[in-house]
């Protein structure tokens, strides 16, 4: 290290060190001459003798310097100076490549930061390698009693549970929905997370039976809502109408296990926050377990499977796993759970499109550099002739492209800071906090710069230095047949790549348009929903049904509300489908397992879901009344093909036999793009479950607060979250909109870059054919003829590129089928549209060069020969 410092010190005073060495050598020589003269030699003999003895002093000086500074370093600096000087003389090249690479590198830098934020997510916890997510066989969540038994069984060292939720923050009147995580009392202790300010709640103080009104908040929430005030600890916040005390603020670098759409508030599990806390039959918690020090995930899985099987024998009301085993997976994978396909496809798609855009940009720069190298063939040939090695010339050219790329990179990274203004939906704003632009961008930016340098510079450098020295020195410049075929091939590749980007963009846009007008099967625009967290003891069973009746009665009198009803789900609202089992005796139907829901009277009318046959539930369908059910079209078609579904009987594993009294039209339940699913609806009064009130109104937006007030009149103590149906179902729409925007950005950038590339090549072709055009015009070719011929030439290139791109796209678009709702990955409109667009853009880009070519003055062109 000190050796290195000495080298740096030497390098900083290079010039003086050189002078000093020179002086030293001169002294040496003078002394030697003096000695020789003293021995009797003449002055000139002495000088000659000294020169002979001393050897090559220039070499000695260079060798001496090389001891300090590696020769490659000196030559690199020389090349940088030379490159910078020669680039200053070509501002056009610098501008075009800076813009191209700036866009390419900027886009990719943002993309990779985003990807590493999402996919490289490392949740904050102690010894993460020993923490695993656990899912029972019967669902993807445990019921609270099952979780408690697992934690106390000693099979795992510790276990904690969590469940996402949303509540309104603030007193009624001014409500803000916030996302929260309901966690078991030991959550932070199990993970080993400490608070930044205050403390996290302990397992003892937050035990569910104490109904703890404690919350821990993220530092983001603390800054936005609690003024970043250290004294905010102990303050009270009203959540869902209940006061909660803030006990701690999590560290700035805390990362939720749930991923970047992280909740802002952590509340302990209790009646207040998890209505199903006493229900062994209701899966309600995602569970994380810390394994015993010696246990492997496989052993743990076997042990927990045996354990849950014994629970099943003990508690008949518990859901059956039907012999399916417990699943154990790394805690980092929690965020992708159930959406792996979508996440993987999103990653493939973004890496692919990002790489394509950068590649298109690189081809532009490579094309320009190649043209430049052709113009400088003589200079290069001379350098080689006077002894520059090929590697040295390649180095010089790579340094030049490196300079270009650095300019582009600086521009791109600055552009990347625009990400801070990216319109992200509120649910995803957490992503912005995580990827705020700072020095962390460099590890992503620098590899792109280096890679791009090689991609852009290598081909031109190799080609330029391969040419025969003799030919090029002799050549008088101009007139030679231009070797443009490589550039033409590159541009075709560019066109093909941008065709793919445009096809993908159009597919996304078309899918978005379909979804925008998608018939989701119910009325999204005129609904309000109120999600309740009810105490099982206070509002269990019939009490819950009666409470629901009182609410419906009260809410239907709120001015502006036309229908009020209840259900245990919100379509497209992210409610997991918990009970999906074959009806009794119908295991013969493969694949489809119907979901079951509980809905109140007028539910289908409230959501404008058409009734096809039979009747809706009415007030006679109560406890004690005949068990009835309504099924949807898909169910009827799947289970009773060719028969009348009305009057048939259905029975799922955990329900009594019910008679089908109605058939309704299918509607979307999980995602907009999903295939129709079989559904059985039961009357809420006969099967009261999670309580969600649905209200229909012509203008729902203004009614949130009045609905909240009306609910408070019925019971002001129950936790409830009121929002419009539109906003309750908006996450998927927002994600899709964002995805479409990103894809469109890629498509537009790719298209623009390809246009620049085509323009550059056509310009070059036009310039190198000056003489030929001159001769032909002198021989009588007309201007339109010349222009047409040039355009035709461009069109040929475009057609080949488009054909190539279309073929490649056919292979690639199925990769992101997941994102396309109602549009085939081979959608002809998208393919034809992209081809047409690219052709038009290609013609536009070639028009100027073609026109210039046709406007040549033949005399001047001929003189250039």
């Amino acid at each position: 290290m000190t050796t290195f410092l000495r080298r740096v010190a030497y390098w900083l005073r290079s010039r003086r060190a050189g002078d000093e060495l020179q002086e030293e050598l001169q002294f040496h020589r003078d002394m030697a001459e003096q000695d020789l003269r003293r021995d009797g030699l003449t002055a000139s003999d002495a000088a000659r003798s000294v020169r002979r003895v001393m050897g090559n002093t220039t070499l000695a000086r260079e060798d001496a310097r090389a001891m300090w500074v590696a020769p490659w370093f000196d030559s690199l600096l020389q090349d940088i100076r030379l490159g910078a000087r020669s680039l200053r003389r070509s501002p056009g090249l610098v501008v075009v490549s800076a813009l191209s690479l700036g866009l390419g590198i900027g886009l990719n830098t943002v993309l990779f930061m985003g990807l590493s934020t999402v996919y490289g997510h490392q949740p904050t916890m102690v010894e993460p390698e020993r923490v695993f997510g656990v899912e029972p066989g019967y669902a993807n969540q445990f019921s609270y009693p099952d979780y408690r038994d697992l934690k106390e069984s000693g099979i795992v060292a510790d276990a904690a549970g969590f469940r996402t939720g949303g509540l309104n923050l603030g007193a009624s009147g001014r409500l803000t929905p916030v996302s929260l995580l309901v966690v078991t009392a030991n959550y932070f202790e199990m993970l080993g997370v400490r608070a930044q300010i205050g403390r996290t709640f302990s397992a003892a103080e937050a035990a569910p039976e104490r109904n703890p009104r404690l919350i821990v908040v993220t530092s983001g929430f603390w800054r936005n809502w609690l003024r970043g005030d250290p004294n905010a600890i102990g303050e009270s916040l009203v959540l869902g109408g209940e006061p909660f005390t803030v006990v701690g603020v999590l560290p700035d670098d805390y990362r939720a296990v749930f991923g970047w759409i992280g909740p802002q508030i952590y509340v302990p599990v209790s009646k207040l926050t998890l209505s199903a806390v006493d229900e062994r039959g209701t899966p309600s918690l995602s569970v994380l377990a810390r394994l015993q020090p010696t246990a492997t995930p496989v052993q743990a899985q076997a042990a927990i499977t045996t354990f849950t099987a014994s629970l099943e024998r003990m508690y008949p009301e518990r859901l059956s796993s039907k012999g399916r085993s417990v699943r154990v997976f790394p805690a980092q994978a929690v965020q992708f759970r159930g959406a792996e396909i979508g996440y993987n496809a999103a990653r493939t798609l973004s890496v692919m499109t990002g790489a394509l855009v950068l590649l298109i940009a690189c081809v532009n720069v490579a094309g320009l550099l190649m043209a430049r190298a052709t113009e400088r063939r003589r200079e290069i040939a001379v350098r080689v002739a006077i002894g520059a090695g090929r590697t040295r010339v390649i180095q010089a050219m790579l340094v030049e492209s490196f300079l270009l790329v650095v300019i582009g990179g600086v521009l791109g990274v600055s552009t990347a800071s625009l990400v801070n203004w990216l319109p992200l939906p509120a649910e995803m704003s957490g992503l912005r906090d995580l990827m705020a632009l700072d020095r962390r961008i460099l590890p992503y930016g620098i590899p792109f710069v280096l890679l791009t340098t090689l991609v852009c510079g290598m081909l031109p450098a190799l080609r330029a230095t391969r040419a025969s020295v003799v030919d090029d020195v002799r050549q008088s410049g101009g007139g030679a047949t231009p070797r443009t075929w490589i550039r033409q091939v590159l541009v075709m590749g560019q066109l093909a790549m941008s065709l793919f980007l445009v096809v993908a963009t159009l597919l996304f846009v078309r899918s978005q348009m379909r979804i925008g007008h998608a018939d989701v099967g119910f009325d999204l625009e005129h609904g309000l929903v109120a999600r309740f967290g009810l105490d099982q003891r206070q509002y269990g069973g019939d009490a819950r049904a009666q409470f629901a009746d009182r609410l419906v009665e009260r809410l239907s009198h709120v001015p502006g509300v036309s229908v009020a009803t209840v259900a245990n789900f919100i379509p497209l609202g992210g409610d997991s489908l918990l009970r999906s089992f074959h009806p009794a005796g119908r295991t013969d139907i493969p694949g489809t397992r119907p979901s079951t829901y509980s809905v109140g009277t007028d539910f289908f009318r409230a959501l404008s879901i058409p009734l096809i046959k039979g009747r809706e539930f009415n007030r006679t369908d109560r406890t004690g009344g005949a068990p009835v059910a309504i099924v949807n079209e898909t169910f009827a078609r799947t289970y009773f093909p060719g028969q009348n579904a009305l009057g048939q009987h259905v029975q799922t594993e955990d329900e009594v036999d019910a008679e089908v009294i109605g058939v309704v039209r299918d509607h979307r339940i999980g995602t907009i793009g999903e295939a129709p699913q079989s559904v059985i609806y039961y009357p809420f009064a006969q099967r009261p479950r999670t309580l969600i009130v649905h209200a229909r109104s012509a203008s729902p937006d203004g009614l949130v607060a009045s609905l909240q007030r009306a609910i408070d009149e019925v019971d002001a103590t129950v936790p409830v979250n009121v929002q419009t149906l539109r906003s309750a179902t908006s996450l998927e729409m927002n994600m899709r909109r964002l995805g479409t925007w990103l894809m469109a950005a890629m498509g537009v950038v790719g298209l623009l870059l390809a246009m620049v590339g085509l323009y550059g090549v056509m310009n070059y072709v036009a310039a190198s054919r000056t003489a030929e055009v001159g001769i032909r015009m002198a021989l009588g070719a007309s201007r339109p003829q010349i222009r047409q011929e040039m355009l035709l030439r461009a069109l040929k290139m475009v057609a080949r590129g488009v054909a190539l791109g279309a073929l490649a796209s056919l292979g690639l678009t199925p990769l992101f089928r997941t994102f396309l709702a109602g549009v085939s990955p081979f959608d002809p409109v998208a393919f034809l549209g992209a081809a047409l667009l690219l052709t038009l853009v290609g013609l536009a880009a070639s028009y100027m060069p073609a026109r210039r070519s046709s406007r040549l003055d033949p005399m001047r062109a001929l003189r250039q020969l």
Binding site: F27, A32, G55, T57, A60, A64, M67
Partner: protein, 111 residues
């Protein structure tokens, strides 16, 4: 190494050793070192500047010697080199290595 034609080639690395040994006697300028080597070797070792100065730079880079400008006997500016503590240690190491090497070569030659 660029030794002069009529001088026998030095064993690789021995020039460094000889310079270090010479400087053990006290600080000296480059010409002085060359003179000393020539005189003490009775004109056998004639080290030219093309090998002497790179060697001196190498010793400087490694921190075994330091160079200070001073005045020569005839009142001219000259750079005087002297051993550092690290240089002394290095000399001991190289000397031992060299002795072993010579001994080994002798054994082979006399076998």
């Amino acid at each position: 190494m660029g030794a002069t034609n009529d001088a026998p080639e030095l064993l690789p690395g021995t020039l460094d050793l000889l310079i270090l040994r010479t400087l053990q006697r006290g600080s000296m300028h480059g010409y002085g070192i060359a003179q000393h080597l020539r005189v003490t070797s009775e004109d056998v070792l004639q080290v030219g500047e093309s090998s002497l100065y790179p060697a001196l730079q190498r010793l400087l880079v490694n921190g075994w010697i330091t160079g200070e400008w001073g005045l020569s006997d005839n009142n001219r500016r000259a750079r005087y080199y002297s051993l550092t503590a690290a240089g002394r240690k290095r000399l001991a190491v190289e000397r031992k290595g060299f002795d072993q090497m010579v001994l080994a070569i002798q054994r082979v030659l006399e076998a």
